[in-house]
Symmetry: C2
Amino acid sequence: MPEKPQHEVTAAEDPALAFQTHDHRHCVGTMLARAEAVCADKGLRLTPVRRRVLEILLETHKALGAYEVLDRLAADGFGHQPPVAYRALDFLVTHGLAHRIQRLNAFAACMHTTDDSDAGHEAVFLICRDCNALAEAPGLRLRAALEAAAAGADFAVEGAAIEAIGLCARCRAAAGEGNDNAGVGA
Amino acid sequence: MPEKPQHEVTAAEDPALAFQTHDHRHCVGTMLARAEAVCADKGLRLTPVRRRVLEILLETHKALGAYEVLDRLAADGFGHQPPVAYRALDFLVTHGLAHRIQRLNAFAACMHTTDDSDAGHEAVFLICRDCNALAEAPGLRLRAALEAAAAGADFAVEGAAIEAIGLCARCRAAAGEGNDNAGVGA
DNA sequence: CTTGAACTGTTATACCGTAACATATACTTC
DNA sequence: GAAGTATATGTTACGGTATAACAGTTCAAG
Ligand SMILES: [Zn+2]
Ligand SMILES: [Zn+2]
Ligand SMILES: [Zn+2]
Ligand SMILES: [Zn+2]
């Protein structure tokens, strides 16, 4: 069954979209614009490599390995060596424009519009083990629960990685009906 | 200031102990006994390598890299090749006797006595960025909060890694007073 | 234009993890 | 106990992930 037409909403506002067919150009445009705004605001330089890396990450709601990113960069005429990718990725992660997904040794574009707690903001990552799509859900509640749990050990939380593995609605449905369906989120 | 004398409590019952001076032999004894009980119960074989790996992990409330474990194994007359360590570690992780800490690409002995949800039980890891000590706090509340957050994206959580970075009480105190203090937890 | 800081690119290397196969040990069945 | 099967241990070899160190380039002032 085909999806209903989408209105102008990005996965930044509704994480569930990452697992659905949607007009992804809105996601890309919104997040790229935010990146430019953030950099202008903080006096950071969104150089060609960095911008291209962000674009590459934004192409899909999935996490990409550094070497995958590197291959794409190389194909675009940038450097062919790991540090080229890692440095750009570090820049994006440091300034809250991308996230490292520990579990996958991979990176994904940040999907937040709210630049209130810009760098190192808290997020929860939902990773579908079937289609590999990745959504970024708001983690404020979880952060509070985490700090409560940590308080019991007299531990001061500075940052947290919260990564859940599971099945998105689409893949659950497919599994239940013996259906097969193609990729999503790009 | 020296710590007050400890009674017979392990880090399994009080995660905070992982960050304090304590009689660690209780931790080791308790967890080793639990491992044997679990294996006997499930018909698993806690072979010499596996047992030794668990002992190595139990030596300290810190996460150890696979190659670090391997070096210790080799020194004890076991194999010198990576798979020797990885297989034993996989066994321990699979059966809930150890955990993989994604953020550190490292492993730590499980510090739970409650074998209710034996394998793959949920836990929150608190990692002190200063002394590298690691505590395992109960994660039931967080798991609930996580499922609630995931429900918003119609995502079914099957497993989660929750890893917090921060400062333990001891290291906070040391930082605050310009003190220096030695290692802890072993 | 000069100077220093930041960015890009390179070589080389270290760390983390697994595939594939050979050997040895432990259970099962006769 | 012997034969056969499953499990565990050990080895070689390789692939994926990440960083150190250094050289050249671009940029923003001064
Ligand atoms: Zn999108
Ligand atoms: Zn999915
Ligand atoms: Zn202990
Ligand atoms: Zn500490």
